[in-house]
């Protein structure tokens, strides 16, 4: 079960011609696909595209009723390979993932499908994870589009434009036999808005029908000599066809007057258009409806660039500023080339006045624009007010808030165990992976030396062959269940077995692809009506030949966890050591159990709740416990002791009673301040009686002690 349910929202996807659809960007994209008669969809979750996958999954019934085939692909490579269905058949297909990382994974299949070309429209929807809040390396998908020759659409960020791009994307793909990428920036995926819907369209040909009458055309397969023909075809046929379609159907847009008095103009990536307009509005060059005083050429298709459109726009202008986010500045380079070829003198201004890196927010654009105007149209240049940053003495009080493990997360004790074992055996090289567990690199754990990509944790440790004899140390690789199935089984475990790697691989199995929003995967323990789950990781690991395999079903058992890890690091046995640490993602578990518990309470049934606490009068405020946990519910509060000054540890009511606090205070020999409270609602008769009797005895005793204390008190 995914973190967020779209069951209610997907009902909107049935909207017909003329109805106003209001919702999130990703739902709009789905609606656009259905309006286009898409025959199959696939993809892999990852921010900002996770919700799109969740929408597909929750809309499964609707997709089926329309004859649309949906797969939650094993990886982006799998998803991209699905596009094979559009090579020989007039099937429209769409796949989606987080870019640029997903595109990296998919690149082999993407190269193949772009080389052979497509018959049916093939759309790759990439969630561009760039700028604020991004969790990956800052690279551009643009480079992939260029090197494989796939067209790249970067629509203006409003729902009508995005839906229109989906529909146009398919047509463009078919008109030019080229797969098309549709780039959605993070905020556009989660942006709400409205558009006027059209009827959903059943695919004219379904994947089942295509499979029933196969078509074979060896010219579409990447093998000599066809691959050389593809290259020629790309340049001579598909490129001109693509350019013609974009030009004839006016996929790019123009705003403002054709010419300005100052002889300047602006070219902008579609996705940045709104930021540009806001920046211009605030310096009086546009209104809030996009009525601009300067000519703007808006590239909804950022690749290919249409030479005649560029030449027509730049002609007669002294200088044109290109607003292009990210680097390298591919568009700026191309514009310069096109200007030279058109024998124009227009000066192309770009990264010389705009920052080379980082997101182009409205504020950044405003500053760049001001520079541009000062140089080429001083009369229009705004007087920007001086920045008024928060003074440093105040600013330094505001702490960083790095992401961390959730309250009660089953991954936390694994890293606590690693820290404790590290105290005994000294630090080891730790190869981390992608997933929630990567939060281990942040405080308070500070564990992890590198991360090489999704499912590459074990592979990232493979180079570290321990030296012989004294001081020999095994490196540890961490991998989540998501990464394991994504490609860790083969590239990590299989590789380690084959090469006799003497490493320790910790596979963290929380039952879901948790970091991306709790989607089910092969080893999920959940029942899933549409997928096959419950395939144990240990079985797969043994299947590729791993011998030393250990498994725990309760990661909170800190003692067990540490001894397993200690053994893996010190055993005489050579070859890869694999530990599968298994406990359910607490976020998902709570979502399920909270409902059940409140139903029980309502029905008057006996319910046991557990949580932890700290006695503030025995806590001395060293916070060792926090440094071994970092649980959000384990926090600090002012010291109630008038003499002590350091804050004491404190457990908030959000505690789910996972038990780690107690295990830590035992294993690390910390203070006796922690307690576990067990609260029984609707207790049984005998239970009540027993509590009453022992309570009465204790109360007498305590009364005596209180009296004695009062006698010697201040």
């Amino acid at each position: 079960m995914a973190e967020r349910s779209f069951k209610k929202e997907v009902l909107k996807l049935t909207a017909g011609e003329g109805e106003v659809f209001t919702g999130e960007g990703i739902l709009a994209v789905t609606k656009g696909l259905l309006q286009s008669g898409v025959a199959y969809v696939g993809g892999y979750q990852g921010s900002p595209i996770s919700h799109l996958m969740d929408v597909f999954a929750d809309a499964n019934d609707l997709l089926e009723s329309l004859g649309v085939h949906f797969e939650a692909s094993a990886s982006e490579a799998t998803a991209a390979a699905m596009l094979a269905a559009s090579v020989n058949y007039p099937l429209r297909g769409a796949v989606a993932w987080k870019s640029v990382v997903g595109t990296n994974v998919a690149s082999d299949a993407l190269s193949n499908v772009s080389s052979g070309g497509v018959t049916g429209g093939a759309l790759v929807i990439v969630g561009e994870d760039y700028g604020e809040g991004s969790s990956i390396m800052q690279e551009r998908t643009h480079a992939f589009a260029m090197k494989s020759q796939m067209w790249l659409i970067d629509p203006r960020p409003n729902l009508p434009s995005i839906v229109d791009s989906v529909e146009q994307g398919f047509r463009l793909s078919e008109a030019s036999n080229t797969p098309v990428m549709l780039q959605l920036r993070v905020r556009s995926c989660h942006m709400t808005g409205s558009f006027v819907a059209k009827d959903n369209v059943r695919p004219p040909l379904t994947v089942g029908e295509a499979a029933a009458s196969p078509v074979r055309d060896t010219d579409r397969i990447v093998l000599p000599p066809a691959n050389f023909l593809h290259e020629v075809e790309k340049i001579e046929k598909r490129w001109p066809a693509g350019i013609a379609y974009v030009r004839d159907n006016k996929l790019n847009e123009w705003f403002g007057p054709e010419e300005s008095e100052e002889g300047i103009g602006l070219i902008v990536q579609g996705g940045l258009y709104n930021n540009l307009n806001r920046a211009m509005e605030l310096i009086g060059l546009a209104d809030s409806y996009g009525v601009s005083k300067l000519p703007i050429y808006c590239l909804n298709v950022v690749y290919p660039i249409i030479p005649e459109e560029v030449a027509a726009f730049c002609k007669g202008k002294r200088a044109v500023m290109i607003l292009e986010e990210g680097q390298p500045e591919f568009i700026e380079h191309e514009l310069n080339t096109l200007i030279r070829r058109a024998e124009l003198d227009t000066r192309i201004v770009g990264k010389d006045m705009l920052p080379r890196s980082g997101e182009y927010t409205a504020d950044v654009i405003r500053k760049g624009l001001a520079k541009f105007l000062e140089a080429y149209a001083p009369a229009l240049a705004p007087q920007l007010e001086a920045a008024n940053p928060l003074p440093a003495p105040v600013a330094k009080e505001i702490p960083q808030r790095p992401a961390g493990f959730c309250t009660g997360c089953p991954e936390r004790p694994i890293f606590t165990a690693m820290k404790l074992v590290e105290r005994e055996l000294g630090p080891t090289h730790v190869s981390a992976d992608i997933g929630c567990h990567l939060f281990s690199i942040l405080p308070p754990f500070n564990i992890g030396n590198t991360t090489m990509g999704y499912g590459l944790g074990a592979a990232g440790a493979s180079a570290f062959k321990p030296k012989e004899g004294e001081g020999s140390k095994r490196s540890i690789a961490i991998m989540g269940d998501g990464g394991f199935w994504h490609n860790g089984l083969t590239s990590g475990v299989g590789n380690a077995v084959f090469n006799k790697d003497d490493t320790v691989t910790m596979i963290i199995d929380n039952g879901y692809s948790a970091a991306t929003g709790g989607q089910d995967i092969l080893s999920s323990r959940a029942e899933n009506a549409n997928r096959v789950t419950k395939n144990p990781i240990t079985k797969a690991v043994r299947g590729v030949g791993a011998k030393w395999v250990r498994e725990t079903h309760r990661t909170y058992d800190l003692k067990g966890m540490t001894s397993m890890l200690r053994e893996a690091l010190t055993t005489e046995e050579k070859g890869p050591k694999v530990i599968v640490a298994q406990s359910e993602c607490m976020l998902n578990k709570q979502r399920r159990e909270k409902k059940a518990t409140s139903a029980k309470l309502k029905a008057g049934e006996r319910v046991v709740r557990e949580r932890f606490g700290v006695d503030s009068d025995t806590c001395t405020g060293d916070h060792s416990c926090i440094r071994l946990s970092g649980c959000p519910s384990l926090t600090i509060k002012p010291n109630p002791d008038p003499l002590r000054q350091d804050p004491v540890a404190h457990v908030e009511n959000s505690c789910v009673g996972c038990g780690l606090c107690g295990e830590v205070s035992h294993a690390a020999v910390l203070c006796p301040s922690f307690y576990r409270a067990q609260i029984v609602a609707n207790p049984g008769k005998f239970e009540r009686f027993k509590a009453k009797v022992s309570g009465a005895i204790m109360a007498r005793w305590q009364a005596g002690a209180d009296k004695a204390r009062a006698a010697r008190a201040f």
């Binding site: 009511n653 006796p672 576990r676 201040f714």
Partner: protein, 489 residues
């Protein structure tokens, strides 16, 4: 200042993962649409979902009747935000840091409660950021600042913080919409309507009130209740300088509770010996009063057993874990007494003999390697702990007591010697007691660091600043690597 567009309202919401910032953003859009405005919301969830801070942005536009759609921004622009809602004090600070709140324009609604960040929590001493500075800046950098403890408001109303924020937004009058439209949005969502409406009202009402600063903890001075107490209080009033009296009163009360009146009198003897060397402003005496009491009231098994089994403690836990009167509460402690601690509780002769004997240590040590789950609400463990607590009467003969008194005397001797020459230096040495805290490994590390600093000072005397630096280094990381480096260099 950027001129606001009268037909547009921009709203930034700063919240932590799990606080329902997305729900709040949706509600606001629903209200706006119901009132005939256009609304757009965006956010960047990603990893921020997992306890990080997140910014949600909502933009509202009044249609001009032409049917044209305005071009909306996707994120708050510094200097161009009309309303900021922040769910926590430092997130309010972050809104200021990012320039979202502008003097003369922005209605800034921020909670004054704290959710400490990991960097603040994991510090070995006190790593908390100063909230007072944020509140000052919030006033200066907004048109109107509405601040109150939204966490407490959430508790009071049995609701969620997003409902409180929604209510405060409605109550702030920062948006031109009727309160009933807000309520309708909550009703329309159909989830937890009753409690959300309650939370809404709580937030709405709070927004009308002046800014409530976070509660400061104040400690009332202990008032003597016994003859002995009155005598000691009189002694404090007569012999100690006024700046030290509050700490001394707390100290005496603590030590009488910890041991008895005679022990408290010993405390005053020791304290007076330092006070005799002090002069205005008497900081040395005041801090000695604090740290001497803390050291003399060290945590041993007797003390822990006593505190854990007091009636007042059980009542406190009941409140803390929110156990209802009809519910049964049982409490389990996680104790890990090692042979070391057990021997320290025994009379010094016996304790020393066991620890000195390899055979005995090995033989008895086996029983104290495991942590124990001690159920204090069960009769068996309750009585066992009461028995340990009763050992208070023979505490002065225990190994630990004798060791601690020796250490204390050493320390005081050093303080007195230095105080005669350099009071500032003496004060720094007093403050070093702060390093000694905790139990087990933590205690040993702290004591070790304290002793290393004192030994270093004996070898190559430092001035006040030098001692302060060493103390701060000892608190910088729990591997004491900074201190070790400084001592080596």
């Amino acid at each position: 200042m950027t001129i606001a567009n009268e037909n547009r309202i921009t709203i930034a919401i700063l919240a932590l993962g799990g606080q329902g910032g997305g729900v709040l953003a949706d509600w606001i859009q629903e209200v706006a649409r119901a009132e005939g405005w256009l609304a757009q919301g965006t956010s960047v969830p990603g990893v921020a979902q997992r306890t990080g801070s997140t910014v949600y942005y909502v933009e509202l536009a009044k249609p001009d009747g032409s049917g044209r759609l305005p071009v909306m921004a996707q994120m708050p622009m510094p200097g161009d935000v009309d309303v900021v809602v922040a769910s926590e004090l430092m997130e309010t600070g972050r809104a200021l840091l990012r320039g979202f709140s502008t003097a003369g324009r922005t209605t800034l609604i921020g909670s004054t409660h704290r959710i400490y960040a990991i960097g603040e929590k994991q510090a070995m001493g006190d790593g908390r950021g100063n909230g007072e500075k944020i509140i000052e800046a919030a006033y200066q950098r907004s048109k109107r600042f509405i601040g109150f403890d939204m966490d407490a408001a959430t508790d009071r109303s049995g609701s969620v913080i997003s409902a409180i924020m929604f209510g405060a937004l409605a109550g702030s009058g920062g948006l031109p919409f009727a309160a009933d439209t807000y309520r309708a949005a909550i009703e329309h969502s159909g989830i937890a309507v009753k409690s959300n409406l309650k939370g809404f009202q709580e937030g709405f009402d709070r927004a009308q009130q002046p800014v409530a600063r976070p509660d400061e903890i104040t400690h009332d001075l202990p008032v003597p209740t016994t003859e002995q107490g009155r005598a000691l209080a009189a002694r404090i009033a007569a012999n100690l300088p006024p700046p030290a009296q509050a700490n001394a009163l707390h100290g005496v009360a603590k030590l009488m509770d910890w041991q008895d009146g005679a022990y408290a009198a010993l405390y005053l003897d020791r304290l007076e010996s330092v006070a005799a060397l002090d002069a205005a402003p008497f900081e040395l005496t005041a801090e000695t009063a604090r740290h001497l009491a803390l050291w003399m009231g060290y945590e041993d098994t007797i003390r822990v057993a006593d505190l854990k089994t007091r009636a007042s403690r059980i009542t406190r836990v009941r409140g803390e874990v929110k156990a209802g009167d009809e519910q049964i509460l049982s409490i389990t402690e996680f104790m890990h007494p090692r042979l070391q601690e057990v021997c320290e509780t025994l009379p010094a002769g016996i304790g020393r003999r066991i620890l000195a004997s390899k055979g005995l240590t090995k033989l008895l040590g086996r029983f104290f390697t495991e942590g124990r789950h001690v159920e204090t609400t069960g009769l068996r463990w309750f009585l066992a702990l009461r028995t340990v607590a009763a050992m208070r009467s023979i505490r002065p003969r225990s190994l630990r007591y004798i060791e601690e008194q020796e250490r204390i005397e050493h320390w005081l001797e050093l303080v007195r010697t230095e105080a005669a020459k350099d009071r500032e230096l003496a004060l720094e040495l007093v403050l070093c007691q702060r390093l000694i805290k905790g139990y087990g490994d933590t205690f040993e590390r702290g004591l070790g660091n304290f002793q290393r600093i004192v030994a270093e000072h004996a070898r190559a005397p430092r001035d006040a600043a030098g001692i302060r630096t060493l103390r701060e280094l000892a608190l910088a990381d729990d591997k004491s690597s900074g201190l070790t480096e400084a001592l080596a260099g």
